[in-house]
Amino acid sequence: MARGIASLIDAVFLMLISATAAAILVYSAAHYGSGLQRQTSRLVMEYYTRQAVRTLAAASVVRPGCDQPDYLLAYMKESLAKNHSLDSATLRDVNSVISKIMAPLTGYYDYAIYLSDDKSIHQIFGICHNCSGKSCSAHFFNSADETNVSSIVNTINSSFYVYSSYAPVRIRYSEGSYGLLVIHFYIWPAGAISGCDKW
């Protein structure tokens, strides 16, 4: 009788050890999968943002009343050198190009473009979704106030879900005066940053 109980207990112990080993296997395999999936997803989104900045920098536009195309970047630099921020016509052109760049992600991802240099240019604009409950509403924001821009950029940078890329370009302010303009491009899942309706 005692031998029988001892054997039974041995078998139960074996089952416990085996169950623990199985649980460890399941846990580590599941985590291995989700960790790699997160990293590859991040890789693809970062590639997208890098390609978005390159496309923005190379895109051409034809302004109303013009019969010749020119680089959008040339218009942006011209407007920034004059006004330290994009004027409404250039902003409209940038947004029309961005809407094409963001076409595959429209409604699923929000974006922001932050322009900065070592002198006086600090502007951020983009589209974000503010969600409360089940309803989300898109909101266009545009700010050229340095304090406000810094606060928005800090909020975006502190979010875990943000993918970003940037392109540095040379800008001429006046004859013989040059600076380095940096175009930052951020995207994040729609509604992932709360309170952006106040931007």
Partner: protein, 148 residues
């Protein structure tokens, strides 16, 4: 007494069998999950490698696309792939990609029963406007699958 021994054998064998089945089931699941994840990671990396071929010139031209198609085929060896350029405002679906003006790879023979990974990336494509170069925003769609 003999009956008790038989009962004792059953009580030992059942937990041991359960333990072995449980362990090997978990092992099989773990191996299959890791293999699936590795396969999906390989597909993603291959997709980016292929996209990189087409985006490397910065601004794509129609003539460059056909030249780059050869390089993409070399890179994609061992995988099936399809890459094409489409408009962002009226995108061409993947299954009709062979009808796109600029397409490369096996767009007309995408297998039905394999996992196909596809992604679209923005790309500037050089066209003409009033006889001058015009870099229009287009989408580069790349699809990859195992085997090819």
């Amino acid at each position: 007494m003999r009956g008790f021994v038989a009962l004792e054998d059953v009580s030992i064998v059942v937990p041991i069998a359960v333990a072995i089945i449980l362990f090997f089931a978990a092992l099989a699941w773990a191996i299959s999950t890791v293999q699936k994840t590795n396969g999906s990671t390989d597909l993603t990396l291959k997709l980016i490698d292929i996209a990189d071929v087409f985006t490397s010139p910065g601004v794509l031209t129609k003539s460059a696309f056909s030249q780059l198609c050869g390089s993409a085929m070399t890179i994609a060896s061992g995988y099936g792939f399809c890459a094409y350029i489409t408009s962002p405002t009226s995108p061409t679906p993947l299954r009709s990609a062979s009808g796109a003006a600029l397409h490369c790879g096996a767009c007309d023979s995408i297998p039905k029963h394999v996992t196909v990974l596809s992604r679209a990336f923005p790309i500037p494509l050089q066209t003409q406007y009033n006889g001058l170069p015009y870099n229009d925003v287009n989408l580069l769609v790349v699809a990859v699958w195992q085997g090819g």
